[in-house]
């Protein structure tokens, strides 16, 4: 979407603050040299001196502290209105979740079967997909059919078991499809067997209505998966929330539906 002609301003500032990771510093300096822009670092140093002369640290620090104290007084009163009912709601929601999920099995739809099958965690051979919701005290496991809300951050994990290639993606109530693993369509879908993995970044639910349905598609064949084909299969589901995924015979899938 954007044509990057020069290094972004943030990178120059981080270089000047010596907060750029070492492994990137060399290449960025090299790029600045190639752009004939090494003087940008010198300009930042000059600008720093000028700003600190115009707005002395002691004076500004005092002003900032005063603002902070003033804002604290204003914020405290309005926070009390939210904190008490919110904490009560959270406690009630946590208790309800525990009661609803004791002994619950994870319903799973497997390609090729007529009826949805229930899979027990620990079934040998089939990879496992796990979704957890991050909370202020840790994580809560999300089973298929459980509720989550816009703004909730979900952690995606998997155990590859016997799968040699896999893809994880999701579709929401708007029909928007998001690829989670691999991170880019061009990356390999190969995985080592019997490997547990936690995807590096949490996934924040947006305001799409109804649901977010997560798919894990895998194969035990050595041939890597075609990410584009799998994403297209998800995009063209007749009913994104309930239809079976139409895939080649050598592919299998599981899904977890997070209700919103």
């Amino acid at each position: 979407m954007t044509q990057k002609k020069e290094l972004p301003e943030l990178f120059i500032e981080k270089l000047a603050s010596k907060e750029m990771p070492k492994e990137m510093e060399f290449s960025l300096r090299h790029q600045l040299e190639a752009e004939n822009n090494l003087n940008r670092l010198a300009q930042i140093k000059q600008s720093n001196r000028k700003i600190l002369d115009s707005y002395p640290p002691a004076q500004l620090a005092a002003s900032i502290r005063l603002r902070y104290e003033q804002q604290k007084k204003t914020t405290h009163k309005s926070n009390l209105r939210y904190l008490i009912p919110t904490s009560a709601v959270l406690a009630a929601a946590a208790a309800a979740f525990l009661i609803m999920n004791i002994g619950k099995e994870v319903p799973v739809t497997t390609q090729g079967t007529q009826q949805p099958q229930t899979e027990y965690i620990g079934l040998k051979g089939a990879p496992q997909l796990h979704i957890h919701k991050k909370t202020n005290t840790g994580e809560v496991k999300i089973n298929s059919g459980d509720n989550a809300t816009q703004g909730d951050v979900l952690q995606i994990k998997f155990n590859s078991s016997s799968a040699k290639s896999l893809i994880i993606c999701s579709v929401d109530g708007h029909g928007a499809v998001t690829l989670h693993y691999p991170e880019h369509e061009s990356e390999s879908t190969k995985v080592k067997t019997n490997t547990k993995r936690v995807l590096p970044f949490g996934y924040e639910l947006d305001n799409a209505p109804g649901f977010e349905r997560f798919f894990m598609v895998w194969t035990q064949k050595n041939t890597p998966l075609n990410v584009g084909q799998v994403l297209n299969a998800v995009k063209t589901l007749k009913n994104a929330e309930s239809s079976k995924l139409q895939l080649e015979a050598t592919l299998h899938y599981k899904d977890i539906i997070v209700k919103k």
Partner: protein, 160 residues
Amino acid sequence: MAIDVEAYYTQYGPMVLRRCRRLLQNEDSAVDAMQDTFVQLLRYSERLEHEAPSSLLYRMATNVCLNKLRSSSRKPEDIGTDLLHQIACADLPENRFIAANLIGKLFSKHQESTRTIAVLHLLDGMTLNEVAKEVGMSVSGVRKRLRPLKGQLLELQRSE
């Protein structure tokens, strides 16, 4: 986490002011926004445990400036064709059920605003990968966050 405000200002204040000047194009507003940025740092100092101060303050400054632009542009005609103003004033489904600041406190996780992400990518020219690394999200997550905004920007451009 206690912060030595004077030390942080000495080290990063000029960077923050440069950022605010660039976005607000007005010295008084920029100095005001710069101070507000450090107030945000005092309020959310625990975030310093997880990331470099320069990155954090740069994004906080961006967010503060966007909020200022948004609150000052009351009428549609104030928005103009400037991309930054369009981003600041775009109608976005940000989390509304509790104020974003309060969520950050309750769950110890800051959710970077879509507008700040948009500025980093669309205005500052950072790639999706670079933005994702900066804000601690997946590339697909960043892409999804930008989707509704890009639709609005295109719409605005088409109507001119």
